[in-house]
Amino acid sequence: MSVTAKGFDEKARGEFARIGTTRIRRGELLRHPVYTRFLHWSVAIFFILSLLTGFAVYSPWLYRWLTPLFGGGALTRFLHPWFGLGFEVFFLLQFVNWFVPMAWTSADSKFVRRLKEYATNTDVVEPEDTGFFNGGQKLYFWVIAISAVLFLITGILMWFDHVFPRISVAISYVVHDVAGLVMLGGFIIHIYEGTAHQPGTFRSMIDGTVTDKWAWTHHPAWYRAVTGRDPRESYEREKRRQAERQDVIESFEREEDAGERPPQIRTPPKP
């Protein structure tokens, strides 16, 4: 990583933070600053456009469904490389932005070994050494990084396929497809994990914040790093508090049901 790239990244972060806003309320933590969010959605938009235009040409079964979205086959073919180039440019910026936290550690190797436990929701909270990104996120990031390089090389060969030799186009065709399919697989999992599977995650890319609860549940080591508190202790304390609150509510309810107390408007106790 060159110094200029890092310097550019820091300058961009500062500039975006100055223009944009991220409101952090009580019980919340800053997860993604404005610049990161901007990059993520720029990459996402260009990726989705590339995916749709690419899949239009990829399969005869999708050709007639997807080409009308972009104004016909010829225009789809014309736009795809430009969408791809947009993806490449913004992903390069995001690569610079995320290169440091995406470094692979022993905790990530452990994540990959325990993938089955992760996927079957065995653990209530993640292992304590799970940092800002977990192994799955890092894996997806590096898959995109490798795919982006492959897309760029094979894409240029196919963009100017009337110039490059026949064999290079024929090989690129397969490599481009495989990279696209692998990325599509990761993309499906990425959207699922970020929305339906882990409620409370999507807001981190919209508002930029997550709740404390979310942080100690999914990224305990990061929680420890930013708050200085022990994630396990915070979790246990919150659990105790919740149980205490529940006890109070239930005792009120019992008294009410037994007629020992006149019915009243139930207001939850202040946290």
């Binding site: 040409v57 990829y58 050709y63 007639r64 086959g73 929701n121 396929d161 697989g185 609860k213 309810e253």
Partner: protein, 307 residues
């Protein structure tokens, strides 16, 4: 390009579903037979091709041979290739009319991702439909003979049509009509193969060309343009590939792995959907308190999984 209704269509590029009217009409396979041994390199066929297809004049390239230009172009579909060939101490001046071979298994059609941009008729003619062409150029890399050519202005690909517009009206292709020596023939595939076989036999037995034979490569299930060559064992001497092949990325990969990839994507979306249903969400912990005591528990216990 011709009206696709002229002939019965046999194959359509990137076309899901049935081909309209396929197999309802019988059509003879047509064929152009070129006897290179009687070609005098007069280029009448080149001119006839340019005239009939109303192509604009284009610059020629002089490269110390009689050849008009190095290869066929988007608006120059018919080119006689001149080769000065030294073999066993003999110099031979080989002339071969180069154009689309109209393969029985066309690589261009296999490679094409645009529905209906390349069609093959029952009679064997492979025709580009520029209206449906998206200009991706995959056909260029799919062709074993380097025939389809890209037009940078229109962003479409063009090639010889075997004069499908003339053939549809019962006429022979323009190049055949122009040939003064009778080295070009046009008719049904079976007739042409027979005549070519006779000519090859004559060359072997009478003219002393022991290796003369018919070029109709089986690796692409034969072509609808066949040659009689004086040395069939080395078609490279004429600039023809011995065993032309379509890149496996357009045969094996495209027709096997592509649908597989698509099915995998659909299954992937289904998998995450049902994963959510079966395993539930990962909520920030501690999630809502679980039921321990009280009337609600009794209600839940009496429920026995019934709504």
């Amino acid at each position: 390009m011709s009206n696709p209704r002229t002939f019965q269509i046999q194959e359509i590029s990137a076309h899901p579903g049935p081909i309209p009217g396929q197999g309802t009409r019988r059509e003879e396979a047509v064929c152009k037979y070129i006897d290179v041994t009687t070609c005098i390199g007069c280029k009448a066929c080149e001119v006839a091709c340019v005239e009939w297809n109303d192509h604009p004049f284009r610059e020629t390239t002089f490269d110390d041979t009689y050849q008009t230009m190095p290869s066929t172009e988007w608006n120059y579909w018919n080119l006689i290739k001149f080769a000065e060939d030294e073999h066993d101490g003999n110099l031979m001046w080989l002339m071969r009319k180069d154009q689309c071979m109209h393969c029985e298994d066309p690589g261009c059609l296999r490679a094409c991702p645009a529905d209906g941009a390349i069609i093959k008729y029952e009679n064997g003619i492979v025709d580009f439909q520029q209206d449906n062409c998206i200009g991706c150029g995959y056909c260029i890399s799919g062709c074993p003979f380097d025939i389809p050519k890209f037009n940078l202005k229109t962003k479409k690909v063009y090639k010889c049509t075997l004069c499908s517009d003339r053939v549809g009206q019962g006429l022979e292709p323009a190049c055949i009509k122009a040939c003064p020596t009778g080295c070009l023939h046009f008719g049904t595939k079976s007739d042409m193969v027979q005549i070519a076989g006779l000519r090859a036999k004559q060359l072997r037995e009478v003219s002393g060309f022991a290796n003369a034979g018919v070029y109709d490569p089986a690796s692409i299930k034969g072509t609808h343009v066949i040659y009689v060559l004086h040395d069939i064992n080395n078609p490279e001497r004429y600039g023809l590939p011995k065993d032309p092949v379509i890149p496996p990325s357009y045969t094996i990969w495209k027709w096997l792995a592509k649908p597989t990839g698509l099915v995998m994507a659909v299954l992937g979306i289904g998998a995450v959907f049902f994963h959510r249903i079966v395993y539930g969400p990962k909520l920030p912990q501690p999630a809502g308190p679980e039921i321990r005591t009280g009337p609600r528990e009794e209600i839940e216990a009496g429920r026995k999984e019934q709504p």
